[in-house]
Symmetry: C2
Subunit: 214 residues, 2 copies
Amino acid sequence: MAVVSIASRRAGQRRAGSPRRRAPQIIAAAARVFAERGFHGASTQDIADVLGIRQASLYYYFASKEDALELVCLKGVEGFFEAAKAIAAGPGPASERLARLIQSHLAPLADRSDFVKVFLNERQHLPGESRRRIGKWSRGLERIFEDVIREGVRSAEFRHDLDTRLATLAILGMANATASWYRKEEVPIDRIAAEFVRLVRDGMVARVPARRRR
Amino acid sequence: MAVVSIASRRAGQRRAGSPRRRAPQIIAAAARVFAERGFHGASTQDIADVLGIRQASLYYYFASKEDALELVCLKGVEGFFEAAKAIAAGPGPASERLARLIQSHLAPLADRSDFVKVFLNERQHLPGESRRRIGKWSRGLERIFEDVIREGVRSAEFRHDLDTRLATLAILGMANATASWYRKEEVPIDRIAAEFVRLVRDGMVARVPARRRR
DNA sequence: CCTGTTGTCTATAGGTTCATAGATGGAATA
DNA sequence: TATTCCATCTATGAACCTATAGACAACAGG
């Protein structure tokens, strides 16, 4: 059913040139399959097919399918949170920090889109314990965004009547949705981020070229 | 596993007061379960549990699980497209029509959020034929939004340098993401829509109270 | 009161999927 | 060369899940 990767299909029977520990490739294959068909829609057989090994062999690398999902999700958010925290705490006006937050939030799509997609769409299927752990991370990120936006309101960079909660959810929604339509070959991710920044800062409406800050 | 609805659990064995054709309730139950656990994560048994009937009894109402998914998705988009088309073709400046488009795009969340969620997240699991049919609808909606935005650029209501494609995807992403966090009890949907409209039209940045159109 | 219709039930076949157990054979090491 | 480790294999159990078949009870209409 699934397409067998040419790279990893070694003709004969067993043994790759595997110089040991190819766990990363295993997880990448899981990410790809989960991203494509969803966690429950994908079978461990599908993952094995991508790698050109037997279904049972996967269990040398993870203890259960759910365990694999957690590994993928973790890789999907790795670094994410720390980067955001650093930016938020860093220098510059709120509006510039927000721009950098958006940039850094979208950046991983360029080289890890499968992992990010799985994190966004499938984390709900994690078993209780790890779901809560990962959900905590997610709410943390929301707070970072919202805090920066609030700072921007307090410093009068942003409109005083801005609903910071809704603005946060709007921005994250817009950014996260990108994962579902982004294709590496088309528009570069920086370009998308820049356009989003412009959109939420200045809006779509045309204006007189007037000076912008009071 | 799933919670058995009190309302529909008639104590004894069989027979409801069902005054005939409770198909709508069946589909609503499917929508709820699919929304909660995803199409593949949900079993027909789960749906039956919600209704308090036997798993096999469901097949009186639909021919297959995938068939049920299609019914749910259809109800999820029902009216959607026509409403949007009417608004786009209607009177008023582009910016006002865009506002109405956003309103009408979010409105169904108020009373059909399960159906909308399933449409957004699970339509990919529809079998080939119906997936294409429904995908066509989806692309049509994108076009309606983008056309209105383009008109706004041509009429100089919107910035001349606006990337209309990205703006469209950003707005739809923001709106669709709402389905994942919206709870009926909290902020009313009109309020959310209004705030989104304000955000994408005027942006977040504070400005001098100056006259707005050149 | 008989009959057809409707909605539900019981029972089950058949397929798929996750996961475990134990064998095997090449590579590395001694 | 002998031994140990690593990664994969074969084989299979057990659970689960969809879907079909056929029985049956309540009600409606004549």
